[in-house]
Symmetry: C2
Subunit: 662 residues, 2 copies
């Protein structure tokens, strides 16, 4: 064991945030402040200093900000994340001899000790500080030294040394020759705000035609944009828009053999017309697609593209690059399967091919192609069935070229794999929310997502339904359940989405009892939706999304707090933000019966005076209530509105607010 500089006495440890010893970046969005903490300590009684060092990745010099000491040797500092991209940060700590000496001088004077020798030491320390200080600090410190040497008695000299201005000047250039730098440089990945706050609407363009039975087009989707915008969505996500294979095409309701006029699954990608960079001719042209992007953009909607890295047997790559598929001993190509289930209409790419590297490059070029067309959000289909290191490579490479790109991981699989995908770079992730129903399940899951290390990298995107999942609780078709599930998604998670128009039209018939598949699923056939249905949740959704837009508390997750209620059927939670916006949700999970509950709000944590009354404004109905104290009751009617979404008004006006009230 070799020690190169034994005089470095400071230890810097447990720097947070840090993921897996710095192996992965933590995540933030532009405008966030990154709070960094570290244990900084040394032997003995000396005062220490600590500095947070940070820079944009690629820069060679560090910016610095002093850290402040809290309790138990924990130090804190922060810096602003002003641009998209990666920042590096680390921590440095040192023994501050000059400030230690000043502190001790004060103690010695209080104990009326002779400080003559100490003042000589002080002069040495001051001279050293002068030597290492740049102008103008150097000159200002020199002036202090001149005054000290001119002073005729110890009391006068001591007073000069204890001057606060001197301390402040010395702090500008502390002696860091023997500073200890933390062992690692850590990274924070800064994305655009939409990575944290987004509202998704998924629809099948081919069902967008106003004429039943007619194949919808991008032009049809354009006509729907105003409606989607009115509902308050800012991401429009389209299932794959590429040519669909014919070989082993699936029929309606996932029938193994398609009828002549069946349209097939959009996820069976590739046909004579082209592969992952082509557009299904019946949807329109590339120009139509670009026009759609533009129209959407004018309504502040971004189009998210589905990326499913798999091929139909008719995909051009199958013949052009047979090395990217797995060839079996009988000469056939391995189709997708999870034995005994088989999916003959899908060929997975063979990631264990010796030609994996060109394959990776080809897949990256697909993303690049669509980025060039103007897409900048990608919803990745089943990432957990492709090698995890591939995603880390792909996202890193693409993000370097296009810092604003957003990737959503559609992985419904085991927790470690879902989490790894998020660590590997996905901006957002599908969640288990779809199957979390009871108060206990929801509380435990979202507490885990928002209070554990997951909060540093896993951004949930909560979906009450998807084309693949009609969860059991929606199958009963109760309007209140559709409202409750949407509200939960929209308030528990700052990113959420629905698959529509299925959702707002309360579509709820499963293909068969015990499955989560939709009857007459759009995955295999065209659907025609009656958008003006009386039952539609359109207005309700518009209201919820407006509330999200207007209340920054709902645009983040890390302040989520669950609150006690005396009723297992009523869940209550709050979110708040730094500006003082506080939202409290109270939701009745029993969609059959009205439920009354006393909510227990921790007023102090929510920034309220415990002794004053306060106003709660139900943003769903507009009703206002005056509450006092931590416990107040609500009654929630599933027949009309099974929830309240309160904005808390901190302070009620009272006679004290009058000018003439003394």
């Amino acid at each position: 064991m070799h020690q190169t500089e034994g005089r470095k006495r400071v230890i810097v440890e447990r720097v947070l945030p840090e993921l897996d010893a710095g192996r992965f970046p933590v995540k933030r969005v532009v405008g966030d402040e990154l709070l960094v903490e570290a244990d900084v300590f040394a032997d003995g009684h000396d005062l220490l200093g600590a500095m947070l060092l940070y820079r944009r990745e690629g820069e060679t010099t560090w910016d610095e900000v002093r850290m402040l000491e809290g309790t138990n040797d924990r130090w804190r500092g922060s810096f602003s994340l002003e641009t998209i991209g990666r920042y590096e940060y680390t921590v440095e700590g040192w023994v501050d001899h000059f400030q230690s000496w000043r502190r001790d001088l004060r103690k010695r004077l209080s104990a009326e000790q002779n400080v003559a020798v100490q003042l000589l030491i002080g002069l040495e320390l001051l001279s050293a500080a002068i030597d290492r200080s740049p102008e103008p600090v150097c000159q200002l410190l020199s002036r202090f030294r001149d005054q000290v040497t001119a002073s005729t008695d110890d009391a006068g000299r001591s007073a000069l040394f204890l001057n606060a201005r001197l301390a402040e000047l010395a702090d500008r250039a502390p002696d860091r020759a023997l500073a200890t730098r933390y062992a690692r440089v850590l990274i924070v990945e800064v994305e655009r705000t939409k990575a944290r706050f987004s509202t998704w609407y998924e629809l099948f363009p081919r069902s967008a035609s106003p004429l039943a039975g007619k194949h919808g087009t991008f032009r049809d989707v354009e006509r729907l944009l105003p409606r989607i915008s009115r509902m308050g969505f800012d991401v429009l996500y389209l299932p794959p828009i590429h040519p669909i294979g014919r070989t082993f095409r699936k029929g309606k309701n996932n029938a193994p053999i398609a009828e002549e006029d069946d349209v097939g699954s959009p996820w069976a990608i590739g046909a004579a017309e082209g592969g992952h960079t082509a557009i299904h001719p019946e949807l329109g042209t590339l120009n139509d697609f670009r026009r759609l992007l533009k129209s959407a953009s004018s309504l502040n909607i971004e189009v998210a593209m589905d990326i499913a890295f798999q091929s139909s047997p008719d995909h051009p790559a199958v013949t052009r690059h047979p090395e990217w598929f797995r060839k079996l001993p009988d000469g056939s190509i391995q189709y997708a399967e999870n034995p005994p289930k088989t999916y003959q209409d899908i060929y997975p790419f063979y990631f264990e091919s010796e030609e994996w590297s060109p394959l990776w490059e080809e897949l990256a070029s697909v993303i690049r192609y669509w980025l060039e067309q103007g897409v900048s959000i990608f919803r990745i289909d089943n990432p957990h069935t492709k090698p995890l290191p591939f995603w880390e490579w792909l996202i890193t490479v693409i993000r370097k070229e296009h810092p604003g790109v957003i990737f959503l991981a559609e992985a419904f699989t085991r927790p470690k794999i879902m989490n790894y995908l998020a660590k590997a770079g996905f901006s957002q992730s599908y969640t288990y929310f779809t199957w979390r129903n009871t108060k206990r399940e929801l509380t435990s899951y979202f507490t885990e997502l928002t209070t554990t290390e997951l909060a540093e990298y896993f951004r949930p995107n909560a979906w009450p339904n998807t084309p693949d999942i009609l969860p059991e609780h929606l199958q009963y078709g109760r309007r209140a359940m559709f409202m409750v599930r949407l509200l939960l998604a929209a308030t528990l998670s700052s990113n959420y989405g629905i698959y529509g128009p299925s959702y707002e039209l309360l579509d709820h018939e499963p293909r068969a009892t015990g499955t989560e598949e939709y009857l007459n699923s759009e995955k295999y056939e065209l659907r025609s939706w009656k958008l003006d249905s009386e039952d539609s949740l359109e207005e309700f959704i518009a209201r919820v999304n407006r509330i999200r837009r207007e209340n920054p508390a709902l645009q983040r997750n890390e302040t989520l707090l669950f609150h006690e209620t005396d009723n297992e059927e009523v869940i209550c939670f709050s979110k708040r933000d730094a500006t003082g916006n506080v939202i409290v949700a109270a939701i009745n999970l029993d969609v059959h019966n009205p439920q009354t509950a006393t909510l227990h709000l921790p007023l102090e944590e929510l920034g309220l005076e415990t002794t004053q009354s306060y106003q709660v404004h139900d943003l769903l109905t507009g009703a206002r209530f005056i509450w006092q104290g931590e416990r107040n009751a609500v009654t929630l009617q599933p027949a009309s509105l099974p929830a309240r979404l309160f904005r808390i008004r901190r302070k009620m006006k009272s006679e004290h607010d009058f000018d003439y009230f003394a």
Copy 2:
């Protein structure tokens, strides 16, 4: 970002135990099994394999043991720590194509699918396994292949492939060409058993004379050894035995100026007679000291030496190596201080000296010197006032040369520093036990020590008193309190010690109200102890230490469990070991009143049948009780014995045990 081998699909993460990303070793003792866990997973559905790799530090090849998959992608494996020293370990994971294929074959056969092509794939996989297998596995696998090719139908070939023996053979040489190795090699420091289980007795040799007022000697200590051994101690710790300085010598009760005949503090090390490698002449010679070591050893007692790296002004190093001390501007040498407190009789070493490296070497040579004399346990005085990196260097260097050496850190300071010293290499550490009194305090502190990451490196050594600390609760002088505090130390912590004969003789007078200093402290004067006092706890201590020796459950801490009682004054906890030894302690913390409490024992966790009666044997009194169920009451009398220490007998004999009972 560059990917050198994109086909490595397995992720190996979160390997435990691991401290600070492998920066520090975890600790175990000889004979322990190291259980290693890791997250091992990959994309898709393939079966994986995982291997725990380990070797003694310095070896170039790894030993291996297969890990087993538990729930949630967590894998476990273990290996035996057979010798003292450091072992390295890491984890490797791979996709097991052959076993995945076998699993899928079974599913396909169940679904009555045609497996002709699959069997061809199986043959390829089997041939590959043959190619990479050493003899005799290679030959055995080849025989399987011959049988497969000789078989005339798919059913027969399938049966051969599904043969369990084939699976077992293939497991001997899985295909690890694309295995993923964990990013770090981790280290476990294996010490001798005494690092985990030791019973310390501290005494001042100079008070060991049977004649009051006469300076005690090593010979006197030898005469006390049988008594110490009868009490069951296996470490005899002596305060510094070096020549004591005369300059600024402290007088009785820490008087600033000593009388002519005052003996001074043993921690003011060094005089004309020598420094850290010399012996105070009044104690005896080096030969006397070595004789003491030998006599102690014959009673299975090791002598622990106090190492206080500081000097009196008379220490030879002060003149020989002025560069190791801090010189002040007036030419004087910096004495120890914590302003405004001053300790003129002590010169600290100046660790920020430019000559720090020779200083470090010199201090290491002190340890080496005493190791050569036969000492192998060192109690380090105030390590938190010397640089922390120094200790890590010193202990690492010394331990390489003397693997059996044990270091105890006498640091009573802030938690982060205490913890760091333990991480840096100290085998054992003094604790806050001395000031933890209430049930809540004791429960929370020992829960932290035994269930958090601390358990991997911080080995508590609990002391109810030390020459520096007569805690307030002992100052009332109640015998029951001395019993309670000893019992708590001896059962909560597998390492514990007392400062005697002060402790067993219930010495409890403070120098002044509000201090924790002993009146007439042995630190500054000779004391004469009435060892045959009627009140002495000698017999009680002997019994407790015998119980510790006879019950392996008390020789470790990681199984500590606190149990609910319905009385805040009664604390109840248990320890158990792998052999089935279970000890339950119930201790009355109220030393004034008898207390009755119902204990709630989680029988299943303690390895007991919940429906059967069981015997509890109070090892302190010999009394035996038959209990049934989880709740049973005890009454604890401070006037006689404020505690019970039960050994649980798992199974009561009943008529079922008779041979003729069917």
